[in-house]
Symmetry: C2
Subunit: 340 residues, 2 copies
DNA sequence: CTGAAAGCGCTTACAG
DNA sequence: CTGAAAGCGCTTACAG
């Protein structure tokens, strides 16, 4: 910077004021438009690039957010990460990534490292059944902002969640509109063990109530919480719902279950969607490749990323967020393919 | 740090020497083991955390690597990113991510930002047919190390590649071992248009030669470079290879093509693997979910990540890498499932 | 409108 | 073995 100042014939004060971009507005340093232009020209000719370390040291914002993601995370989380990066870039922010590996001491070490680098906010992409312990939670509180997905991990924490109940409601409505009358719901676990399943069950029942007398009875199959499901389990679900209860459509708790269900149907010589309509949840990459293409609920990563960034940026800037606004709910979208 | 020094009753010099970790070895600053212990204890009690910005400013290494990844990248690249992060963490390095968006000016801006943050090395996850222009390439050269995947983008550049020919050789050998005798190859494009296809063709022909007289003729179908393939194109490939040429096995250039091929077979009332064995390439997430589970070539991301990190770290440390070592070849692995 | 100077938190010769 | 001091590249009051 002093090279530029020397070349132009001014002090670093002027160069700093101009190149900070906020230009001649902040502080009481004012540079004439002409000088400003010369400074910019010389700076670019000399290939000047601001040193972030020096700026940081002077207390400037880092504009880097941390992302913590489970190492055994599903591809879905990485797609969400991609959406988050796009949103961050739009706002002039950068992302540094770290992975959880179950070992809470190493996770805490990662967090310390982020703090030492001046990172003020962190997005946690973690499974809804977290392995965070007290050590990690205490470290996390040292950031100015931490956003979780699915559910907040301590009182007052920030969170972005997808409206799973709305997704299942939309699925039920879609099936009824296609003429299905006996609609089953497949859950991976009992609702009392897994709140994510409870959300789906609620959406299912709301969907049936909204439909009035158009449907014929409630048919819910609940797995033992084993995921991914072994073939026998998928066969059992098909037996219970399609054969015994005689449903003509099944809403599944996720795409992988839906795919296993369709496989089990095929083993029985039945076809989807003719004999049974099937809907998944997640819109994983495989959903459109599968045969038949899987109708499913997309988690709307773009909306998720925007909501998460809003929260994170507000928190990092010290904006007080009222309790009622600390959990943002993102609407999912129904993607119709061939399985319904 | 000065707080710690005051508390212990020494100068920052001593504190710095101890906390730098390299401890009392470097420089000529020596601290007695006892003082060192006290410094460490007080530092942790005070919750001292080194300020990376200050260290950076004094010319210390940043230990952050950049990753540039295409925004429309396949999930496969994100799985590779995950492997790279694990490898980086093992070596005490952090990853900052950025996405290409086709707009070379914005990409160059990202690169400048990385440089300003003291990032010395960058891994480029980009499609093999790159949209880099001169502007971007010039910026990239300013890093101490840049590693590309698939092929190096300028003379002398560092690169990690997967041995595609070896993958296809292994696929051919596997099919012959299973008793298949007429093995076809499906390419998305002509080898002269796409070097990645040329590699596969070479592996196929080597595989047949190695097999001696065990096989019956060369059967290659080449697509018009349209990806992903529309159903008609998949049907055309099946017609040419399975019906006209009468092959009993097909090695596909990637998993998505393999999946479309299997769908086209099913439309004809034929079954896989009974009527035709099919092998993919990539081992995408959908491969194991598909029905039948897809036999495929895995790209071996762990080995890829290790090789990329070796190159990147060496380059950033200024180690001279002989030309013959600038491209690292990673062996792929055959994953056998139900489609063969 | 512009300049001179302090200081962010470290590391590192250099001097005891 | 330990201390005093310079300086990395910026920003920002403060003084002209």
């Amino acid at each position: 910077m002093s090279d530029v100042a020397k070349e132009v014939g001014v002090t670093v004060t002027a160069v700093s004021a101009v190149l900070r971009g906020s230009g001649n507005g902040t502080g009481n340093v004012r540079v004439s438009p002409d000088t400003a232009r010369r400074i910019r020209r010389i700076a670019s000719r000399l290939g000047y690039r601001p040193n972030m370390a020096a700026r940081l040291l002077k207390g400037q914002r880092n504009n880097v957010l941390g992302v913590l993601i489970g190492a055994e995370s599903t591809p879905a989380n990485y797609e969400r990460l991609s959406a988050l990066e796009q949103e961050a870039f739009r706002r002039g922010l950068r992302l540094m990534i770290g992975q959880f590996r179950g070992d809470s001491e190493r996770t805490a070490q990662y967090i310390e490292d982020f703090l030492g680098r001046g990172i003020e906010g962190v997005m946690c992409f973690e499974n809804p059944t977290p392995s965070y312990d007290e050590h990690v939670l205490r470290s996390l509180r040292r950031f100015r902002g931490v956003v979780f997905q699915t559910r907040r991990l301590f009182p007052g924490a920030l969170c972005v969640d997808v409206d799973r109940a709305a997704g299942v409601r939309a699925a039920v409505a879609h099936l009824l509109a296609r003429g299905r009358r006996r609609i089953g719901l497949l859950l991976n676990d009992r609702p009392e063990n897994d709140p994510l399943m409870a959300d789906r069950l609620a959406g299912y029942e709301e969907g049936l109530v909204q439909a009035g007398r158009e449907y014929e009875g409630r048919q819910v199959w609940m797995g033992p919480g084993v995921y991914p499901p072994p073939p026998e389990l998928a066969a059992e679900a098909v037996g219970a719902l399609a054969e015994q209860a005689g449903v003509d459509a099944i809403v599944c708790c996720n795409d992988v279950w839906a795919i296993h269900l369709i496989k089990a149907m095929r083993r029985l010589g039945k076809s989807v969607p003719e004999d049974l309509a099937v809907i998944g949840f997640d819109n994983i990459n495989a959903a459109e490749l599968f045969d038949p293409g899987l109708t499913t609920i997309d988690q709307n990563n773009a909306a998720f990323a925007a909501a998460a960034m809003d929260l994170l940026v507000a928190a990092c800037e010290g904006v007080a967020i009222p309790v009622s606004r600390r959990t943002r709910i993102v609407p999912p979208r129904l993607i119709v393919r061939e399985s319904t």
